[in-house]
Structure formats: C-alpha cells, structure tokens
C-alpha cells in the first residue's frame, strides 16, 4: 500500500540527484530492500512503473535488490550524459 509513497520518494531523490547533471538522462536507479523493511519488492516495482508513465522518467529502470534486515536504501543512480 505505502509502496506508492516509497516509489514517490525514490523519484524525488532521483530528481534531486539529477540537478548537478543538466542534460543527463536517468537510466537506472538501484535500491536495496530488506525483508524486515515492510516494503514488498514486487509491489514497489509495480507502483514505480505506474508513476513514471508519461513522465520524463518513463525510461528509468528501477533495480530492486534484496537487502539485509530492515534496509531501504538508495545505492546507485546511473546516468547517460552528453559528451562534453
């Protein structure tokens, strides 16, 4: 249920991280989700897919990995940047 809110928080974090990279396109965002985090990985993937539809983040892949314990962390953002 709250995976929609979690997906939104991930997208907000991506938008923040993109600021120092004008012209770049976010390709992949990796998160780790632990079994005790209270977040369902499939549901998170579903919600994320739903909220990026029709936005500039439509092509952004969410990479959900299994984390330890109650981990719910952003680990890596992959960008495509124009050649300088």
């Amino acid at each position: 249920m709250h995976e929609l809110g979690i997906a939104n928080s991930i997208l907000e974090a991506v938008a923040t991280e993109m600021r120092p990279h004008p012209g770049a396109r976010a390709v992949r965002i990796a998160v780790t989700v632990g079994a005790l985090s209270g977040v369902d990985r499939d549901s998170l993937a579903f919600c994320f897919g739903a909220i990026v539809k029709g936005t500039p983040f439509e092509k952004l892949a969410l990479d959900v990995r299994e984390g330890a314990s109650d981990e719910l962390d952003l680990t890596c953002l992959e960008l495509e940047e124009p050649e300088p």
Binding site: H2, I6, E12, H21, V31, L79, E80
Partner: protein, 216 residues
Amino acid sequence: MSTTKVPLERKVLSENDRLAAELRAAFARHGVHCLNLISSPGSGKTALLERTLAAFDPAKRVAVLTGDIQTDADARRLARFGFPVRQITTAGACHLDARMVATALEGWDLANIDLLFIENVGNLVCPTSYDLGEAAKVVLLSVAEGEEKPLKYPGIFFKSKLMVLTKIDLLPYVPFRLEDAIANARAIQPGIEILQVSNTTGEGLDNWMEWIERRA
C-alpha cells in the same frame, strides 16, 4: 553519450528521517517521551489509550495524536479524559509520517508535555517504514488475531520495543496459542518486551502503566 554511475548511500526515506530526527531532538530538548502505537485495525489501540488516560492523574502532562484515514471518532473518544488530543486524518494514506506529526504538533508547547502517545493508522505494514521521532514503537497484537502474525509481518515486530498482547479476556474463547505468539515474536526479535492486557477487564494494565512510567 557517456554513462555515469552516481553512488548513493542513503535511505530512501531520508527526508522523512531528517524530519523525524528534528522531532526527536525537539522531544529530547523538552523532555517529551514519545511512544508510537502500531497494530492492525481493531487490536485495541484506542481502547488501551482510553484505559491509560483514565488511569492518569489529571495533572499528568500527557497528550495524544491519533491517526486515521477518515473521521475524528478516535480523537472524540480520547478527548473525554481532559488531556490534549488531536486527530490526524490522512485522507487515504495508510500510515503517519514525520511531516504529519510535525504539522499536528504546531501550536502545542512541547515544554508542557512529558508524555506523547501517537496512535498510528491501523496497519501492521506501512507504519513500519516511517520514523516519527518516537522513543519507542509499541506493537499491539490481539488474541482475536493469529499467533503467527509476528512471522507474517516481521518488520514491525523487529522494530518495536514492546509487544502488547491485547484482549486476553478472550483467551478461553479463541484458539490463540499465547506461547506460540510469544515464541514467534522472540524469533523475530529475541529482546522484545512483552505484556498481556485486557482493556475490558483491566487485567495487566498495571504492568503497562508501570512500563510507561519506567521509561518516561
């Protein structure tokens, strides 16, 4: 085009955690002991708070924030005891977050509060992820539910300081195996404290009041 990998080593909910840390610091500054009560709908959070408020001396500096998706029914139930109570209506959200708590506290002087109860939205999953700046999470599990719930919803039993088994007056009438429920909670978190209460008969409430006083 070139590919850049930006390493991010932070929580998904870092913005909520930042606000929660501010709340926790404000609570510490003003000597507010805050407890975050979490359970399924209907496990007896409001009933336990009614019993708790009724037992306090009217001079006790206690306040309650109560969260629900709709209605202020709980706030009205709890306001009868004369202590400050505010309803947080989440309008659909299945949990409280730190921003809702911060907003609900506006206008209250924390210096006048020693003990703050936050009754979360009835839900055993979603409130788990959101730190509200509390000193401890307290999870309620009624004997009308299943003793396997700690295994099915491990997150909240992992993060709670205390499990309160409620409705123990119903034990003769339900198939709930108390020992299994306790073993299951301890399998998730060996150090979890456990109390048993009945909000109907009052059994065990003295232990609950003592638990609060010992920590506050």
